[in-house]
Structure formats: structure tokens, C-alpha cells
Symmetry: C2
Subunit: 570 residues, 2 copies
């Protein structure tokens, strides 16, 4: 089989060192990132910020240009910035059958190129996405409602990190077996049986990415790149509210693929308007063999139950939990937690919702604080963090959709509101609906119905329990049943921490302990922290690990006998 590009630059040679570093990073799990997270001129260049914003502004109200992309008509998803203006970009209309047909037609040369070439192309795409980080940041801000710096970091370099991490796993897993091997089995009589064998990784088929409204790139890149590098064409189906960041991504991917001599239809955009049902139709197409999904539990469960022709990787929703037992840094605990609740106005799949506190209180360096006192102290910490509207606007986010607003309205009547959600005036975008977190106090016994549902958005509950043991019991049981993407514990007792670790293993969730400084439970670092886990119902996959990539390809084998050579004559 050929192991090279049909033509064009040797991206694998260009990216090989980076790829090798990335593979090493997945096994070391120390801090590592090739894509600087700081949107500073010293890193990205004097004009990068200006040019990126300009590129974003120039898209507004125009047909998005994807040269050579199939699709006869245009889709107008009517994206609207949560900061208060319409984007009005249109995209090619590509139906499920046409998308799958174009993807399949592009696949054979991609399969024959082999894992090195594919990984090189993928790393080059990521490199160019990194150069486009400012353009992507504006697109992410004005589709998701994230503040600019977060949109830059989470939508740009951190998403690129997660993409490269998936590339690294996908590349390494395809090279676990040699491409050729000689097998020689001794026989009792005569010479050995000798066979030459060839091993070829072959993609599973057309891959479908169903992306979400809040983190279109961060949650989308792992599946996109894992599938691409394992030899599969990818159909990208963005959320109707957040098409632009992925349209830019598709544009960059197609440019690199074409330069490398491949059919750019290896990456396709299947945009839709609100209310269309493209995702479901694509997901049941018999030739769609891989699905990556981020979004609601309802649709994720439907995909897992119905798209039986495909392997399905989902990230859904759950009950992110904090168990509070004791601390020797109460001030740090409160400020860390207040920031976690505030970031992007709680619209992260990782934002803590259920904070379990013994009613009698937790031991702190400022004395015992009862559940009531803790709830009040947390409210005060939020007030302090968000006191200055300009600074608060950089931490909070604009409300991404009406669902969040509706849940906020409902939450005002749940339990005892300790801190109401308020709207702050954004200094640059006065029309933006930027909200602060609501904190309500509940009781573990009487308010079970409320806290065993997910309240996606800036809604968190301080829940009084009998004891830390009681808290850990509810944590274990509710997360096993309803899932969670994050969990945290605060305790000064090694015994309690050990019990909490056991409970987290039982519940199937990753655990953060005693976060009081600059690391937050809702953030995970690629190449070191795993995000999500199939071990609880909130997800069926981890970003990223070998399980995230091995189902996307098969290693097929051929073998033939080695004909014994004539013995050489002297």
C-alpha cells in the first residue's frame, strides 16, 4: 500500500516532531501544550488580533465561502450573538444522502495514505487553526456567549490541544502493530512454515460529528480529528446556533486536505436551520459508522439506543457534585468555588451543581461553618467576585439560549434562594443577557427531586446532609444513576479523601480534591486530565484515551507464504 500523499507538501515530515512530543505527553501526563493560551501580541504577532476580528466581521451577513463544497442551495441558521446582534451567515445546504455519498467518494485515497500521512495532515490543520485562533475566538464568543478571553482559550488553543491529543492517540494506536511482519513456525520435520504478513489500519466508515451550542470546537475537535486520522471522512453537523466556528474549522481542514492532494470532501459541513432534524437522519444512515455527540441526555440516549450501525461516543449531562467536609483554607475554597460557578455563567457541562454540606457544618480555619453559614458565605464570595461589572463580564457569559433563561426562572422557586441570579450590564454589549449564579439551599432528604435533575446554567444548590458519610453516599448513588462530568471534595482528613476517592471510583467520575487556588474543577488540561468517562451515564467516552480511538478503525491483515529460495551454490 502506498504510504504517502498523492502530491503536495510533506506535512508529516513537518509535523513529526510535534506528533512524537504529543504521544509522549499522553503517557507522561505532565503539563504540555504546543498552542499558547495567551492571546497576546508577543505570542500571536502584532496584527493577529486585529486581523482575526476583521476576518470575523467580514463574514457577517454573507454566504460562507467553502470552495468546492457540495450543496446546491443555502442554509440560513439565523445565528445570533448572545451579545446582541445577528450574524446572518449562510452555508451550503447538504442533505444526508449527498453528504454521505461525497464523504464515501473521498475515502479510498485517504485509507491508502496510511496513518503517518493522515496524522501529518491533521497536525497541519491544527497548526493553521491555531493561527486562526482570533477569528475563531470571535466566532465562538458570538455564537456561545462566552467572554472573549474564554472564547479564545477554550475555543482556540485548548480546543486545539484536545484535537492534537486525539491525533496523538489515533496515530499511536494505528502503529501499535507493524505494517509488515514475517512469521516463521518451526516444524518437527523439514524447514519452518514461513509467511509474510501485512497489517493495514482501515477506517470504519463515514463519521458524523454532532456538535453543541456552547463548546463547538472544544467538544468537537476530539471526535473530528480522531476519526480523520483513523482513516474516516467526517460530516460535521453543527448546532444551528453555533455553525460559524465549525464552518471556519471545515474551511481550514479542506484547504489543507486539498493542498496535500486529497479530496477536500473528507471534511464536510452539514449545517441546518433551527428545527431541522438533520442529526437524526444522518445518525441512522446505514453508511454512517461513527458518531460523536455532545448535547442533551435525551438525544444522546436516543443515539446510543438507535444508531446501532455506528459506534457512538456521547457526552451528555449529569449532576456535577462537590462534597464539603473540612478545609484549612476556607477563603481559598470560597473564592475557587465562586469562580467555578461564575465562569461562563455556569453554562459548562462541568459546572458544579450539587454542593453537599453537613447541616451541622464543616470545620474550617475560620471555625465551624454550618450549612446555612456556608451558603451565605458562598453568596458573599460570589457578590465580591462579581462586584465590578466590567471585571464580572470577563468571567461570566451571555445566556446562550432560552432554555437557560427558563431554568433560571424555575430555579427561583426551588428551595430557599440564598443568592438570586442578577443581570449585569456588559460594558461593551449593553444588550447582552449576562447573568450571575443563583444559589439555592436545599435539604438532602426533602428536596431530592430538585437536585437529582440537571439544571444546566448558573444554578447551584447547597444541600444539607446528616454528615460527610451521608454526603458521600448520596454522591455515589446519584452519580452512578444520573451521571456527572466532574466531582470535587474538600477535606483536611486523609481518611475522608481516601473514602471520597473510593466513592468516585464507585460512581465512575474523575475527582478534584481541595481546589483552593488557580486550578478549577470545571477545567481539564489536555494531555494530563481526562474529561468524561463511560463509567457513569453522563458520557460514553473519555476525551481522550485509547478507547476513544480504537473503535474507529480495524487492522486488516493479509498473509502469503514465503517461497523458500534456492540454496546458493558455492
Amino acid at each position: 500500500m502506498p504510504q504517502n500523499s498523492p502530491q503536495g507538501p510533506d506535512f508529516f515530515a513537518r509535523q513529526r516532531t510535534l506528533l512524537e512530543q504529543a504521544v509522549t505527553a499522553t503517557t507522561c501526563r505532565d503539563h504540555w501544550s504546543p498552542y499558547p493560551e495567551s492571546p497576546s501580541k508577543s505570542v500571536y504577532g502584532e496584527d493577529a488580533a486585529k486581523l482575526g476580528e476583521q476576518a470575523f466581521r467580514e463574514q457577517i451577513g454573507k454566504p460562507f465561502d467553502l470552495p468546492g463544497h457540495p450543496g446546491e442551495a443555502r442554509v440560513s441558521p439565523a445565528e445570533r450573538s448572545p451579545y446582541g446582534f445577528p450574524l446572518g451567515v449562510t452555508y451550503p445546504r447538504l442533505g444526508p444522502d449527498a453528504a454521505v455519498a461525497a464523504a464515501k467518494a473521498a475515502a479510498p485515497a485517504w485509507r491508502d495514505a496510511g496513518p503517518d500521512v493522515r496524522a501529518g495532515v491533521a497536525a497541519e490543520i491544527l497548526s493553521r487553526l491555531n493561527a486562526a485562533s482570533f477569528e475563531i475566538a470571535h466566532a465562538v464568543q458570538h455564537t456561545t456567549g462566552q467572554a472573549f478571553v474564554m472564547a479564545f482559550q477554550a475555543g482556540g488553543p485548548h480546543a486545539q490541544d484536545r484535537g492534537l491529543e486525539a491525533v496523538a492517540y489515533a496515530w499511536a494506536e494505528q502503529k501499535r502493530h507493524p505494517s509488515t511482519a514475517r512469521w516463521s513456525k518451526p516444524q518437527r520435520k523439514g524447514g519452518p512454515l514461513v509467511m509474510d504478513k501485512r497489517f493495514t489500519p482501515v477506517g470504519r466508515g463515514v463519521s458524523l460529528l454532532i456538535a453543541c451550542n456552547t463548546f463547538p470546537t472544544w467538544n468537537g475537535y476530539p471526535g473530528l480529528f480522531a476519526s480523520l486520522v483513523t482513516g474516516n471522512p467526517v460530516v460535521v453537523k453543527p448546532h444551528a446556533g453555533a455553525v460559524l466556528p465549525l464552518a471556519i474549522t471545515v474551511r481550514v481542514a479542506r484547504e489543507v486536505l486539498a493542498e496535500a492532494g486529497f479530496d477536500p470532501n473528507l471534511v464536510l459541513l452539514a449545517a441546518e436551520e433551527p428545527g431541522e432534524r438533520t442529526a437524526g437522519a444522518l445518525a441512522l444512515h446505514p453508511d454512517v459508522r461513527i458518531i460523536d455527540f455532545t448535547g442533551s441526555t435525551e438525544f444522546g440516549d436516543w443515539l446510543e439506543a438507535n444508531a446501532n450501525q455506528a459506534v457512538v461516543y456521547t457526552e451528555k449531562a449529569g449532576l456535577n457534585t462537590v462534597v464539603l467536609d473540612s478545609t484549612d483554607d476556607y477563603r481559598g475554597l470560597l473564592s475557587n468555588l465562586a469562580f467555578s460557578l461564575s465562569l461562563y455563567s455556569g453554562q459548562m457541562c462541568t459546572t458544579p451543581q450539587n454542593l453537599f454540606v453537613p447541616r451541622a457544618g464543616i470545620a474550617t480555619d475560620q471555625g465551624v461553618r454550618t450549612a446555612d453559614e456556608f451558603a451565605a458565605d458562598l453568596a458573599a464570595a460570589l457578590d465580591k467576585l462579581l462586584a465590578d461589572p466590567a471585571r464580572a463580564a470577563g468571567t461570566l457569559g451571555a445566556v446562550v439560549n432560552d432554555g437557560v433563561r427558563e431554568r433560571l426562572a424555575l430555579a427561583a422557586d426551588v428551595g430557599h434562594t440564598v443568592r438570586a441570579s442578577t443581570r449585569i450590564k456588559h460594558p461593551e454589549h449593553p444588550e447582552a443577557d449576562v447573568r450571575t449564579p443563583l444559589v439555592a439551599q436545599l435539604d438532602a432528604e426533602t428536596d431530592r427531586d430538585a437536585y437529582t435533575r440537571e439544571w444546566f446554567g448558573p444554578v447551584s444548590f447547597v444541600i444539607g446532609t446528616d454528615s460527610t458519610e451521608h454526603s458521600l453516599g448520596i454522591f455515589r448513588e446519584t452519580v452512578r444513576r444520573h451521571g456527572a462530568l466532574t466531582a470535587a471534595v474538600h477535606s483536611t482528613s486523609e481518611a475522608v479523601l481516601a473514602t471520597a476517592e473510593e466513592a468516585a471510583l464507585d460512581a465512575g467520575v474523575h475527582l478534584s480534591e481541595n481546589l483552593t487556588g488557580g486550578v478549577f474543577v470545571n477545567q481539564s488540561a489536555a494531555f494530563s486530565d481526562f474529561h468524561g468517562s463511560a463509567a457513569n451515564p453522563a458520557a460514553s467516552a473519555t476525551l481522550s484515551d485509547p478507547a476513544f480511538v480504537t473503535g474507529r478503525f480495524a487492522t486488516l491483515q493479509s498473509r502469503r507464504p514465503v517461497i523458500a529460495e534456492e540454496p546458493a551454490h558455492a
Copy 2:
């Protein structure tokens, strides 16, 4: 987390070198096996054969002894040797709820033991299974109908090889990430953010093995050992016709687990009587999270569509295909193929069924042979191979069940019978229904309905086509649609072989080329040949590769800040 046995011998220390060799073998793919395939006294000892047979004979007509195994009543599956006598062994009756409850209760200490301890225990189990190879061989022979030497090899050492291969992948994949790591992220101001992280592989949950009638150990061990080593308890549900080989396996596994200080209920037997529906009930149990299945396409498809709470690894059925183009060793081709069709009377999931030959013929070292001539030559090669009943009895097998007999009767009316299936008299077991292969001649155009169904048993078709290109087209299309576990091609042309390799990649099946000597298409060697592939409908897994093990566990993480130490004073 503790990384050791609760008590007992250190099996990991004992087995470590073997495990490391096994992992290396999976990456080299040269011939390697620690379990000798020859049932000779020089290897297994003077008395092994006699003692093994004695152990088998002593079981007949008795309750099978599984000390401490739960289950109140007994199951009488009425196993009957295809060689003509009843086994009459009874087993504990264990319902789905009781099985799952016992398995779950055993799991926590197994999780905490860690991958090294689990791999050590598994390798020790395999070592003791190897020592029991003669007992297992008799049990396999008299449940499956395999001839003794095949029952010994495929049911004993080759099954053990496949088991160890799964252990090696499962062990290595759990150790891809370190158990602890320190993460240090530089900050613009002040010292770095530093976190200590711990990574723990955690099994997915209760694992269910649904085994088959023909290869209970060879097809059963990979899933059993992959699940066990990744931290999951395993409920073994044998086919009602082939319980004994897996009951012996469960007995050995429980002995080793108990010696190592673990709850022996980590491996449980859920035997049933013919007509019971235990497999379906177990498969839908919400706490069954992993299923390994070998058997009919119908039930495999049902599992894939309905057991959504579990990851499902199936090996079903398909259209094993041989494409004949040309050869420079016609005699070798015929004798190799005749042996492949005869082995175990065609009752292998790997036996070739569809042999495509251009009607005008294939070029051989004995001149062009038309499709008609090839069919006659193959029939003659079978007659020659099977001329001596005593020797034939060592190659063929006894018919395993009435389904095979019924298909043989139906096949007599399909196409033009070139060679009828005959019954040979087994010298030691005159009652055994030992059959020779039926060969019928079909046409690619007119007999499509016949050859696009699977005829499990000694039924093969010589199918006339327009050309090799036509043959390859049908091969590609029928295997993509209906699946296959094996494929083979014969050609003297490198161009045709290259096209056949492309077609096999398209079809998603492993390919054997120009087999004319001592390697047969229906045999695959652990650590070198892959068996099955999710790339076509005949299976959803490969024995074994990383994809076969990574879905059986999740790596869960905890992290905590590292408190900066006080600077040392001078």
C-alpha cells in the same frame, strides 16, 4: 490504592516474564506460543494423557463439583457426545439476578488489586488450564464433535494462546497511562501550578460470556480473560450442548482466584438446559455491562440492537470466500483446499463456503482448468484425502447438532452436486455421525440466493463467474453485505493479488494468499493473525487487538494540589 493480592502467592511475580513476552509478541507478530500444541508425552509428561482422560471419564453422569459456587438446584443440560454417548453431567443452577449479585459482590477487591495482580492471576489460570489440556480435550471432543487432536489443540493450547493474547492486550492497555503523575504548569507571575494526579483503571461492570457449541474455549477465552484482567467479574453462559469444557475452565479459575485471596465468584457458571433463555435475560440485565458472544447472526444482531447498556463483542457468521485466478501449484492448491473443507467436517466459522472460479477456467501448472474441471478436481482431492476412514476420522468431525444435518440435506438439492456428503465409519466410535464435505457447482448469476446465505457445516460451492474481476466484484459486495471471517485468493499475478488485497480492505476481511502448503485459511495463529474484524458484518470485534479490551474499563483520575514546601533554611 493497594496494588497487591489480599493474600496468597505472588502470581504476578511468577508470571511476569511470560506476560512481558506475550506483550512483545503482540507487537512483533512472529510465531510465538508458550503452550505446546503437541499432545505428546515428551511435552506434557508420561501420565498426562491417561490422567486427563480419567478426569474426564470420572465426571460422566455426576454433578460437576464447583466448591462454593452459588446455586441451589442443579441444571441437567443433557450434553451428549457427538461420538455417541450421553455425558449426563449436572451443574449448579444460577439465575440471572443471583449471578449478577454474586458477581458484583466479588468485584471491589478485584478492582483495588490493580492490573498487575489481575494479569498475574489470569496467567496463572491459563498455566493451570494448560496442565489440564488433556481433560479439556476430551470434554471438547465429546461436546463439539471435534477429532481428538483438534480438540486438544484448538480447545487446549491454541485457546490458551488466545486467552493469553487477550491478557497481554488487557494488561498493556491498562498500563498505557502511569498510575500517578505530577503536573506543573508555569505561571506568568509566581511559582507554577502543581497538581498530583492518580489514574486508576476501573472495570465497566459485570461481564457476560455467551459461548458457542463448536469452540467453547477457543472463542470463549479471549472475552473471559480480557474482562477479568480489566477488573470485571465474568458470568460464563455456555451453550447447553457444550458446558463441560467451560465448567472445567470455571473450576480452575475459581481455584486460582481463591488461592490468591479473592472471591471465587469473580468467575461464575450460568449453565442452562436446552430451550432455556438465560442468555437473553442475562444480556438485558441493567448491571451486565460487557457481553462477549459467539454464535448465530440472528442472536448476535439481536444483542447488538437490544443490549444497549453493554458493550457487545460478537462473532457471528458470514460467507467465507475463495477467489481462484491462477496458480503455479495446482496440486498444492487442491490438497490445501480439500483439507480446509474437511477439517472438523466444515463446522468452523472459518471454513470456506464460496469458491469463485471463472467459467472459462484458471491457469495452472497443469494447464487451464475450467470451472467444471476444477470442481471435479476438488472432488477428487477430497476423495483422496478422505479415502482411508481411520485417517479421515482424524481430520473430519462428528456432526455437532441437527442444524448441520438439516442444512446438509437441503444442500443436496442446491445447484449441481459435484461431490455428495458421505458418512464415514469412525473406527473407535461407530455411532458417530462423521460426514465428508458436499461440493455443489453453482453459477454466479443464477444461484445468487443460494450462495449469499451461510451454510454452516460441510457445504461448499464452486461458483462459475465471468472472470476474476467478476469474482472479486462479487467477493467485495457479498462480504460487505453479509460478512465473512476468512477470505483467500490464488493467483500468480502480482497485479491480481494487489487488486484482491484492495478488495479485501473494501470488504473488511482478512485475506490469505496462495495457500498450498501447511498453513490453512481456517486457522489463525494467536499473537500473529487477527481473527475476525468489526469491518464487516460477521463480527463486531477482532481476537484480539486493543479495541477488544479498551471498552472494558475506564481510567478514572483524581487530582490534588501540591502544597509548596517551606523553603529550607541555611
